[in-house]
Amino acid sequence: MPVEKEKLIELYRTMLKIRLFEERVAEIYWEGKSPVFNIAADPIPGEMHLYIGEEAVATGVCAHLRPDDMVAGTHRSHGHYIAKGGDLKKLMAELFGKKTGLCQGKGGHMHLFDANLHFGCGGIIGAGIPHAVGAALAFKMQGRDNVAVSFIGDGAANIGAFHESLNLAAIWKLPLVVVVEDNLYAISVPKSKSTAVKSNAERAAAYGIPGVLVDGMDVMAVYEAAGEAIARARRGEGPSLIECLCYRYRGHFEGDPQLYKPEGEEEEWRKKDPIPNFRAKLIKEGILTEEEANKIQEEVAALVAEAEKFARESPWPEPEEALKHVFL
């Protein structure tokens, strides 16, 4: 089925929003980290896991989701949150540890939560998969046609929670889609040394559910595969597994020397970069003109700049805030 022009432009805009947001985050992060690397230094303290290179996955999947569908993210989830329609200002302020952040500075970049968008993520690998199973269970029991999507890295597919969750979702026929972002590495360990099968899509057979492997650098390929899996879930036909082959251009975290990546590997994957390639495709097909594409770029850059300004100007939380929210 042909995809509407507006949708195609939206896919491009979302990928770009993730990319420009994170490129700026990387610059701001290093502002405070040189010449001496102190991980706790301002303006963005703590660990930083960036999604740059993987934008097509979150974008292609979330394009099918409604605000009341649930997304469980990972430790690398700015992209999922932005693709779900997240608030750049609150996101940036959370990264800064400011009071106006998504979680009032309590969570930081790995622990984002937005009740309005049914979005949550966290720092324990694989922990979000059963949460998505639970959301899917709730949707089914409530008679709603919503779906829950769990994004995970390829590293998480080797943890017990992945297998327990797929089995449970399959026997209960829940509206769940698990999206594996195979970026080739679990921190430094290559997939060939961590995973007994070539593609995690094969593992779907163990739970009697559909499993597909798609090119995670091609937003349309992701969009199509996710569309099928999500429609199937909404129809009440049960869970699916999608593995998206992609690449993270940066380290596992900022500061990772990436000695485990073979020389020339990144250059090869740069050729498949989803954003310039999709832009060229849209221009070639007459969906966008150069001018229109440039205008989108400017608009998105302005949003990012606005988010940064908001975060920089926002107040710190009061120290006493540390004692709040242990119980409600």
């Binding site: 790995m110 943890i159 921190i187 540390a322």
Partner: protein
Amino acid sequence: MRKLTFAQALNEALRQEMRRDPTIYVAGEDVGKYGGIFGVTAGLLEEFGEERVRDTPITESAIIGSAVGAAAAGLRPVVEIMFIDFIGVALDQLFNQAAKMKYMFGGKAKLPIVVRTTCGAGMCAAAQHSQSLEAWFMHIPGLKVVAPSTPYDAKGLLISSIRDDNPVFFIEHKMLYGLEGDVPEEPYTIPLGVADVKREGKDVTVVATMAMVHKALEAADELAKEGIEVEVVDPRTLSPLDKETIINSVKKTHHLVIVHEAVKQAGPGAEIAAMVAEEAFDYLDAPIKRVAAPFTPVPFSPVLESAYIPSKENITSAVKEVLGK
């Protein structure tokens, strides 16, 4: 003497023990080529090869569970759980399996396992990468719990832990990895279950653990200028706990302050305070005081995190309070 960082001291302990005993292997996430996320296993893969230095998938339950099986079959696994916060995923293998087998099987199963992990706040790593959970493990009979504070102790305690025939949960505070100190080149052991008096003093005993040992020593320096002589006791091993050293110190100073980064409620200080109250109550001239993190998860924002971590000022004021000054 030669100086090494805390991380280098641990690395040397692993290296020397692996050279001595071919049954030792190391396994964990990113312990091979990466050399451990904090560099503790750096260079081991190059020296000992992939058979003995095993990168694992993200599979904590199988990391510890396979160590149980390998140990029972005659190897001496030293496995790494990257952050103590990740132990939840593998807890059954640690507390139901590793800790209990020797006992359940009538003392027949030897389980020489070391589980190394990192704890502690200070890096703005937030609630799931910053915890101090040592008290959980002190509660489990059958596990030894080791918590060094200096490079010297780190090396000697790790060698002892590797040579011990019991499962040892070895906790490294991540803010200590860069700390330098004197470390002898030759292998040496520090017995498990023996505390160390890091500073002698006659007025008040401060029992402090891991990173808090250094804050306690700074507080002691400051208080010395005011004429208060603080004795700083570092248990080094939390289970078994060296009661005798702590009690002897309290008998001398008649005052006790306990400092740890774990939350106060049911933290390691609760056990130490109860033990002293039971066994040395008559020697105390004032109620025991605990300086610890508040009962909250570790917050992310630097403003909140520094409010959360016990400070030198918290220690000096607690000392003055027990002394009525």
